[in-house]
Symmetry: C2
Subunit: 233 residues, 2 copies
DNA sequence: GAACGGATTTAGGCTGGCCTAAATTCTAAT
DNA sequence: ATTAGAATTTAGGCCAGCCTAAATCCGTTC
């Protein structure tokens, strides 16, 4: 049988990926933040941090978080590439909905060989973005830094393109899907209620062209957009 | 993150699959046989057997081996189905050679959900055999018992069809592939040397039609054939 | 029926990865 | 400067799965 593992352990890979995600939203990754994402107790994180830093994958400043080393970042990006290629493949080739691929990819990312991932990427024509609009790192660890802002920060009157949404919550994704709000949709922000109220957008390019959508503040924080022009106003 | 496992642990599933395989070549599965297949030490097998029988997956007669319970057999067949569907999918849809799919499937079989497996099966048109000719169990655990015999046991003058070859050894598979010896090939046994000597076959239907192949005794034990007719002689 | 050899199990130990409870450290407010 | 509260780490424990060394059992042979 001889089940040769394909990289680090499932657990190690998920820690590295999580730390990468937290770092890319600025600053070092804190123990409690890692614990929350991975749904484990903080002391479990402290323990893993010790092992990771002994393996040279992170640097640990006690009481102030961890940072990936180059080796750690490389390993993390390999997992991210696997995850995103898998999500794209499952969606494009096996009819998965965009709200159900994440869970499957979360497991397969630790079992699929590089060879399999590259075959899938090839079969897909080397896609640059996953079904949620997230950039796919290249084989040698290059990743596009998206210059998007949250819908909540787009001013009224501006025209923007929806570029990326978080892939974690299937319910959110199903809801957005029903509204036709997927990456690529172009819209104008036509209204915003005060006191963190909802935002109204008018869809310009999409399957649901020319409809207005009212989007709650919390949801609007999850929609990452690229502002393309400013309306004359 | 919340990596929900899809079945039993990787280790448990490989034990169940191994026990299933040993049982189907007759009698109870012995500790040492399991240890050899899984490449672990015998005491590790004793330990796992204890856990498996506490979980009701096997019955253990101390010093004389284990047998799968119904629950154990069901679980084993689910893993076998996953494995064989995966091998078929990788071969048919992603251009894998038949000698490299086994290792990949050995890992993916523990990470792929039932949903994914059924989608792959669907995309393949619900195949009945994997690339090595092994029967694929149905979703509800039915499996065809192949009535094949080893080439080594086919008499000179008989016509037989190659039906199934072991999937474990990539080198053997590469060699057979180069000879054009894949499931479906029809041939006549035209000679056999004494003292466990090689067997000569004449290929009747295949890409390498009308060639003679000399096959060593050991290899001939791995080729499972269906005798179709007897030559007039 | 005793003894030998091989198979198996038991005993004891290790690592990874998780947990809770307790101790420590850092920060920020007084 | 103290100190309360939150975050973090340390201490100590548990389970799955592996290992080696030692004990035990079983079938066979004498
Ligand atoms: Mn995802
Ligand atoms: Mn994962
Ligand atoms: Mn196989
Ligand atoms: Mn396996």
């Amino acid at each position: 049988m001889a089940e040769t593992p394909v990289g680090f352990s499932r657990s190690t890979e998920d820690y590295l990926k999580t730390i990468y995600g937290l770092e890319s939203s600025g600053g070092p990754a804190l123990t409690s933040a890692i614990a929350e994402v991975l749904e484990v107790a903080p002391p479990s994180v402290s323990g893993m941090i010790k092992r990771l830093s002994e393996s040279g994958l992170v640097e640990h400043a006690p009481y102030r978080g961890v940072q990936l080393t180059n080796a750690g970042r490389r390993a993390a990006l390999r997992v991210v590439r696997r995850h995103r290629i898998l999500e794209t493949y499952l969606t494009s080739k096996l009819g998965y909905d965009w709200d159900s691929v994440h869970e499957e990819a979360e497991r397969l990312e630790h079992a699929a060989s590089d060879d399999l991932i590259e075959r899938m990427a090839m079969a897909l024509g080397n896609p640059q973005y996953d079904p949620h609009g997230a950039p796919i790192p290249t084989k040698d660890g290059e990743i596009e830094e998206p210059e998007t802002i949250a819908l909540v920060d787009v001013a009224v009157g501006e025209i923007a393109e929806l570029r990326m949404v978080g892939d974690r919550d299937p319910d959110v994704l199903r809801y957005l899907g029903a509204l036709g709000l997927k990456p690529g949709v172009l819209f104008e922000v036509v209204g915003r209620q005060p006191f963190r109220g909802p935002i109204t957008i008018r869809v310009i390019r999409s399957t649901k062209k020319d409809t207005d959508q009212v989007i709650g503040n919390e949801l609007a924080q999850l929609l990452h957009c690229l502002v393309t022009e400013e309306e004359v106003g």
